[in-house]
């Protein structure tokens, strides 16, 4: 009797969550957040603590969820023997998507900049923004090399940033990327030892995963509140003057980003043989969570749930790829770096030919990997890798990008979640569980 009551409550909560997270409510929350943010009313900044509280709630189960999900996915792939095929398929679609994103990132802004260039007034406004935001000097150096500040150790950068030398330290410092790597390695080890000894804790991990999903279900009741309280203060941070001065960057970035975001559900719908409107409506939930939290990893549980439960995509490629893909393949950052470089180029009077554009795309993909393990403004630092080979000033780019980052970071995170979800769908496309009508059922 008691069990029946508990299951009843659980089902009611799920039903309520689905009802609250209908596309129409999500879209209403977005519109409300944008309007409140654009009005820049003073009370909007008081919403921020509510939003931060919501993000903190969501973070509760992220690491336990990843620790449970990845070993389970590794086991599933290794047990079924499909791992090589799934991995090959994932690598293929990752490469195709990276090339497509890099191409869109280079082509659309190039076309845009061909027909619009900064006039003197815009340069003056941008200079004023630079002067206001960078109220210090650009560069500091010493004539005597002994006065130069020491560089960080090599273990803070590149491949070293991925190695979980102390997983407990990584867990306590919320270092999700190192936790992911640990989980993948540990998962392989667990499968191999299970084969030898017959003992495992996979059932316990499955239980932990179910608990995390349940807790995420509870918190997803608050998604619309989260959207309003997180997005509105971010939008309010960017004044109309700043936006007007940076339109030359903002338009191509948001146009190219919107195209890629729309392309994702359309391609997924084609692969799943489902209605694009249905896919878009379902996929809106993780996308909006990405926009509001600006934290890709927080979106992993919701994105996985959406793909597996709502779109009926096969679990194995999703579980195996999505957490690692979202943490490492940063499509939004590629787009951002390419367009920021083209923007700084046009500002400083540099022209890009086709060869330059190809190099720019390659450098941006490379630099996007250098952002692994970092988020927020720190993720802008690798932009120097892209700008400097073209003789462009990183010191000009960063203060400008910081100004527009409240909005740009939202789109970057949406692209990271959206396009990685698309890769998982494409890799798993042949494994879709069709309904009797041959269509993916509506949720």
């Amino acid at each position: 009797m008691k069990a029946a009551t508990i299951f009843g409550i659980d089902n009611s909560l799920k039903a309520l969550s689905r009802s609250i997270n209908r596309p129409v409510i999500t879209l209403t929350a977005i519109v409300l957040a944008l309007v409140l943010g654009a009005m820049r009313l003073p009370f909007v900044q008081y919403l921020r603590p509510v939003g931060d509280f919501y993000v903190a709630l969501l973070q509760i189960c992220v690491l336990p969820f990843l620790l449970a999900t990845i070993p389970l996915a590794v086991r599933s792939a290794m047990a079924s023997g499909s791992a090589p095929g799934v991995i090959r398929s994932l690598i293929f679609w990752v490469l195709i998507t990276v090339v497509a994103v890099a191409a869109v990132s280079a082509i659309i802004p190039s076309l845009f900049f061909r027909y619009s260039s900064p006039d003197e007034r815009m340069v003056a406004n941008i200079g004023a923004l630079l002067g206001r935001s960078a109220d210090t000097v650009d560069v500091e150096f010493a004539i005597d090399a002994r006065h130069v500040p020491e560089n960080k150790s090599a273990s803070d950068f590149g491949i070293f940033a991925l190695i979980p030398t102390n997983v407990f330290a990584s867990l306590s410092s919320n270092d999700s990327v190192r936790v992911l790597v640990f989980a993948a390695i540990f998962g392989i080890g667990m499968v191999l030892t299970e084969r030898n000894s017959g003992h495992s804790i996979f059932d316990a991990l499955r239980h932990i995963q179910a608990v995390c999903v349940l807790i995420f279900d509870w918190f997803s009741l608050l998604v619309p509140i989260g959207i309003v309280t997180l997005v509105a203060p971010q939008v309010a941070l960017l004044g109309p003057d700043a936006f007007k001065a940076l339109t030359l960057f903002a338009y191509p970035f948001f146009i190219a980003g919107a195209l890629l975001l729309l392309a994702g559900p359309i391609i997924c719908a084609f692969a799943l043989r489902a209605s694009p409107f249905h896919v878009f409506g379902v996929w809106l939930k993780p996308l909006m969570l990405a926009a509001s939290t600006r934290n890709s990893l927080i979106c992993v549980p919701l994105a996985l749930e959406t793909l597996k439960n709502d779109l009926k995509v096969k679990e194995e490629p999703c579980d195996l790829y999505l957490p690692i893909g979202i943490a490492t393949i940063r499509f939004g950052t590629i787009l951002y770096f390419v367009i920021a470089t083209l923007f700084v180029g046009i500002l400083m009077g540099r022209q890009f030919n086709l060869h330059d554009l190809a190099l720019l795309a390659v450098f941006s993909v490379g630099a996007s990997f250098a952002t692994i393990g970092v988020s927020g403004l720190a993720a802008l630092a690798p932009m120097a890798i892209v700008l400097r080979p073209f003789g462009l000033s990183y010191e000009v780019a960063v203060p400008l990008m910081i100004i527009i980052d409240p909005l740009a970071d939202m789109l970057r995170t949406m692209l990271n979640v959206g396009l990685n979800g698309m890769v998982a769908v494409l890799a798993a496309a042949r494994s879709v569980v069709p309904t009797s009508t041959g269509r993916v059922p509506d949720s």
Binding site: G127, D138, E140, A142, I143, R350, S393, E395
Partner: protein, 280 residues
């Protein structure tokens, strides 16, 4: 015998004239007195040399020609403390010319954003610094990025080999030769000319102190796109009052005054000063 004694007396007079103490020989205005605190008090005037051009935020000429600014105020405070009136000699054509005024005894002190340098210290004394500013460069971003070849601009600026503009007759001529031995130092007539040569592409960087570099960008923010600023963290301009070489007591007096008024000049106050708003 008489002729011998006459010629002996003449020779003695000539020897006395030629061997007079240099401080007296260099004091044409008040011959016979060593120039120090007591002589200034006795003369009831403190002669202060300043540049004939304005140094915004430090000293400027008002619409009616009145001298204004914290350096002027500081000189007047010193004069009041001494109980003498202050006479400004404001026709020094360069920073070095202000030092010349002191070294040649035409002024008691010089106050015009003067940096201490080895060359100047061989000719005059300096007070304790009343403000210390870091050396800085204003550079053409594209030119330096091109020269850096993909490396950070700091690496290129540290061993700068291009054309570097400084104001002629300023301490930065010495500093440029010492700190950037591989650069081609171009001496500009004044600061405006130095900035114009940077904007016109004749040079790729100009060298002065952090205040002046930041003031250029603050007064004309649109230049932030084209020009970058760099601070040299281990090179400091000690802005001090130049004092006559024999005036040890006056130096002590001025040091005490600077000590009790320390903090009157800060970089941010100077940058935000209404007297610094003149656009280059």
């Amino acid at each position: 015998m008489f002729l011998r004694s006459i010629s002996g007396t003449l020779a003695l007079l000539i020897w006395i004239a030629l061997s007079s103490p240099p401080a007296i020989a260099q004091s044409p205005s008040r011959p016979g007195l060593p120039r120090d605190l007591q002589s200034i008090v006795d003369a009831k005037v403190l002669r202060v040399a300043i540049t004939r051009f304005d140094l915004p935020s430090f000293h400027v000429r008002g619409a009616d020609g009145t001298l204004l600014g914290p350096e002027i105020e500081m000189a007047q405070q010193i004069g009041r403390a001494l109980g003498v009136k202050v006479e400004f000699l404001d026709n020094a054509a360069s920073f070095d010319a202000v030092v010349d005024f002191i070294a040649e005894g035409r002024a008691d002190i010089g106050i015009s954003k003067l940096s201490q340098t080895y060359n100047r210290l061989m000719r005059v004394r300096f007070s304790e610094p009343y403000v210390t500013l870091r050396h800085a460069l204003l550079f053409d971003r594209r030119a330096i990025a091109r020269a850096a070849g993909g490396h950070p601009p700091a690496a290129e600026l540290q061993r700068y080999k291009g054309r570097l503009s400084v104001i002629a007759g300023s301490a930065y001529v010495d500093f440029a030769h010492r700190n950037f031995p591989n650069a081609t130092v171009v001496e500009a007539r004044d600061w405006d000319t130095a900035i114009a040569s940077l904007l016109g592409g004749q040079v790729d960087a100009v060298y002065r102190d952090e205040f002046e570099i930041r003031r250029v960008l603050k007064n004309k923010p649109s230049l932030n796109v084209q020009l970058g600023s760099a601070v040299i963290v281990d090179q400091k301009a000690l802005l001090s009052i130049a004092i006559c070489d024999t005036c040890s007591k006056l130096q002590e007096f001025i040091n005490y005054h600077i000590g009790v008024t320390r903090g009157a000049f800060t970089l941010n106050e100077l940058l935000n000063s209404q007297l610094g708003k003149q656009v280059q």
